[in-house]
Symmetry: C2
Subunit: 374 residues, 2 copies
Amino acid sequence: MTTCPPADIGMSLEEVDTPALLIDLDAFERNLERLAASLSYTNVRLRPHAKTHKCPVIALRQMALGAVGVCCQKVSEAEALVYGGVSNVLITNEIVGTQKLRRAASLVRLAEVAVCADDAENVAAIDKVALDFNVQIPVYVELNVGADRCGVESGQPVLALAREIDAAPGLRFAGLQAYHGSAQHVRGYEERRTAIASAVEKVSQSLDLLKRHGLPCHIVTGAGTGTYHFEAESGVYNELQAGSYIFMDADYAKNLDEDGKPVRTFDHSLFVYTTVMSRPCKDWAVVDAGHKSVSIDSGMPWVDGMEGVEYIRASDEHGKLEIHKTDCPIRIGDKIKLIPGHCDPTVNLFDWYVGVRSNRVETIWPITARGAVL
Amino acid sequence: MTTCPPADIGMSLEEVDTPALLIDLDAFERNLERLAASLSYTNVRLRPHAKTHKCPVIALRQMALGAVGVCCQKVSEAEALVYGGVSNVLITNEIVGTQKLRRAASLVRLAEVAVCADDAENVAAIDKVALDFNVQIPVYVELNVGADRCGVESGQPVLALAREIDAAPGLRFAGLQAYHGSAQHVRGYEERRTAIASAVEKVSQSLDLLKRHGLPCHIVTGAGTGTYHFEAESGVYNELQAGSYIFMDADYAKNLDEDGKPVRTFDHSLFVYTTVMSRPCKDWAVVDAGHKSVSIDSGMPWVDGMEGVEYIRASDEHGKLEIHKTDCPIRIGDKIKLIPGHCDPTVNLFDWYVGVRSNRVETIWPITARGAVL
């Protein structure tokens, strides 16, 4: 259910009720501009992943800086984006079942909406709904480039499925979806480079085969915040799907660069604002953000700007801070910023972003696709 | 944001779109009745924890079977419950900050609403708001009985804080909150028994001290699904806060009974219904429920009723099933039931329960307090 926002526009940060999902607008805008600028003199398009933010307001800001559109994972997310004014959405996922396919076909009348496929029977099902709705649905072949999740294997299986799509009267073969999910959080630079080199090899092999058989492939789309520079330089990828760069998870900040130092291309701009609700002894304090307010699937959140204070355990509605300094002045009522280990599922816990600049609430954006799992 | 329900009343189960949060109504009702019946000849009251279900419809069903009221963790949850017709709510948590205290005071005009405290300054702040709103707020002293989270230590600190509450003109000393959270998921029967025996000792010591100083304590409230029978038999607890018993997490089903066998007092009644969206090879399949649809903080979900199929990894919107049987017939489009490792945070991901009986959708209930973190 939609909750009421934890702040009013114009409030000072200190007045914001907690837990609240804060965006540091200066850092956020720097992140948007940095990635856009790094691609501006290339022929590589940016299609940021909206599964990170679930918010049409942010999608439109990304497109205003040059993104060709956005991606999402679910038909219901695509609805929230299109109904929020986003004109171009790629659902980077297989869509199974008549109800979802009808919803996707209905969206194709309003915006450029495409889907992925990795199975011939599914392609036939998409075609059937497209014909029923009298629309043409663009379909990407999803290629398994190493994540071992969805997707067909490179080479012959790609060609076979692309032919099915090409032959279907209600569909258009749109390109290759080639996202290497499991490479994104590999810590070492060389290991990430090698993983993407292997993905590039699989894509190249498939592109050659498609070309030889007269099926041109204009778009190869993929990449995430952890590896996008490798795909950008690959010569085969021409569309990038990075999403987390806008917020920067604590976990992504553990990736290492060429010199073995933490990658610092983007700044942390998303925070869970939380209040100290108990300080029973000198060794620990308890805050009001547990794992119903900050996702812990990729590790505990970091405590922003406080040395010697560590978020060590989350229960549903409590976070336990271990205090390593004997003279730590943390008191009940103090408000603290947490950097989420994983931003995407954290965003999915909230209905509102509270956008802050210079310690003042400047904007409150609805997270329209929160809970859009269908 | 509120999403549309994944089903219509009257549909067959097979028609329900996925991911959906299903309640097996027969199993759910058996669970409600079993716990109510086990307490019916005792003087121990039941106050189930609504943090599990976040739904006034369920709270009212629990009260119809004899529960005196429910608990919750957040003021915004209490609002959702009271506005949904629940007349008696204990917020088993410290409430910090004027905004939240005002919201709590406002609720006290509509229903019996109580809060907890573990700090004298916080007690003064609650009193100030109570006087400002011209209400009397019942306050429980939270006692640390072993979880080492919030709460004062037993004995003298309990007495000191109870005196502060008793002396505050806007407050009423209501009793002791004595929940041993970390004991709930301890596997061994003896270890759980010992943990609760230690909690009972701390409560008894505090009760004696309060009595000797003329501060009678009528309610000792606590306990969870993992240990409630120990508290029920303790002679000092007279109110139980079990919550998860209605749904039964996979994780709770790993607790062992006196004979070293898994505890089977309650049945699994909550499921995440999910569709197979990819079957790229014989070794694995991918379903459309990742950790944005089923919480993994207490382990992966179990696959219901399918031998040789294991949910081994969750990404945001995908679940990977490892298939150990060579002849497994799982196909794209098949719908599967998952038993969540942890029900409470799983419920918090959805806006709707789909209540099913005899494979037919009988009811759809709104999860009104979903996302209520304030």
